[in-house]
Symmetry: C2
Subunit: 225 residues, 2 copies
């Protein structure tokens, strides 16, 4: 198996199947491509396809389950501090995953725009993130409706940035993500008469905590002026 015998070259069976699927989708469209055709091009049997992917649609959203688990884990890890920032960071996880995928994400985007059933599935997937956020937010906030609005807004902002990037012509989507999240956080900030409650929003992309701290200081200084 490690030595490819005849025509099928490169990568694991799963990878070959995914490449074959996307290529065929581009050539003949999604509905015009049968699972048999995908398996044939990948040089494997039809049964093997359904062993590698649960369904034909699953070829297009292979990492969704993993990503959702990552998001939930991230939220659980931060569950004691209770902040919208944790939600924002979990959402950033999703964005980064798409950015890392690069061209593949764009091809998938084209497919989801043109095939209704795939569009549905993508939307349903996003709703699962929103659900995770909602439940997390509710753990520290009493107002149920407000929790839903928050979770929905984070997802909406994330999707807006992601969509712009997928459509092309965006230099640094993560900066846009920061701006969008800042807008959301500002939206849900406590109103003025309400006493103090200073909302803190961090900007930048520093993986180093000290750098984040510095950015905070800078933001505070800038705001004082």
């Amino acid at each position: 198996m490690s030595a490819p015998s005849a025509p099928p070259a490169g990568g694991s069976v799963r990878d070959r199947l995914q490449r074959a699927a996307f290529d065929l989708f581009d050539e003949q469209g999604y509905d015009g491509t049968t699972v048999d055709a995908i398996a044939e091009r990948a040089g494997v049997g039809r049964t093997t396809f359904f062993r590698a992917f649960r369904s034909k649609e699953d070829v297009i959203f292979p990492h969704h389950d993993d990503l959702l688990e990552q998001v939930k884990a991230r939220l659980d890890a931060a569950s004691q501090r209770h902040s919208l920032l944790a939600v924002s960071e979990a959402s950033r996880l999703v964005l980064r995953h798409y950015l890392d995928e690069g061209e593949l994400a764009v091809r998938r985007y084209r497919l989801t725009r043109s095939v209704p059933s795939l569009r549905e599935r993508e939307i349903a997937g996003m709703q699962q993130y929103q659900r995770a956020f909602r439940e997390y937010i509710r753990t520290w906030m009493g107002d149920e409706l407000r929790a839903e609005l928050m979770a929905g807004s984070v997802i909406t902002a994330h999707n807006a940035v992601l969509r712009r990037w997928l459509r092309g012509g965006v230099d640094d989507p993560e900066a846009q993500f920061d701006a969008a999240m800042a807008q959301v956080l500002d939206l849900f900030a406590e109103r003025s008469g309400r006493g103090t409650a200073p909302t803190v929003v961090v900007v930048g992309s520093a993986d180093d905590p000290a750098a984040v701290g510095a950015a905070v200081e800078q933001a505070l200084r800038a705001r004082r002026d």
Copy 2:
């Protein structure tokens, strides 16, 4: 046809099919019920089923297209007044439809909660309303992201009220709807006394959530000085 010949009694063919479908779904579950079984119980042929409903799922969401058109028409009619209130009223249209359905809406809710594919479809349907709202809001508002947040919030609020009613134990859902929409309107109302709201924005991301939390704490301490 107006005179029922043998066993199938009552209403149009469409109604008989829908009743038969929901009854069978309750008895044997959605996946355990075939289209043949539905047609048989309704006393018609299989072909007739697909003439009355585009698909098996369509039996459960029969009025969706009509409702969506109503919503769009409502928005178009109000397109000159340009207000979030118009969106709220259009959303109320959807709520009222469910309330009028009564018990049928509850049965559908039970189904959508238990069958993933139906859940997906319902979510996708809601997304279409959100899309209509978003496009309407964008016609009078420049900020694209803010338009998305508004549309999403209206849908979220609507869904929250509807869900509570579907779960049972809510006396007057329309009053709750009013309250929820008021909260949304308040959320997007222009801020008063903008200067007194000390909103500090942090930007950036640390892969370690604890580090971010620490940075925020540090920023807040610094701010108190």
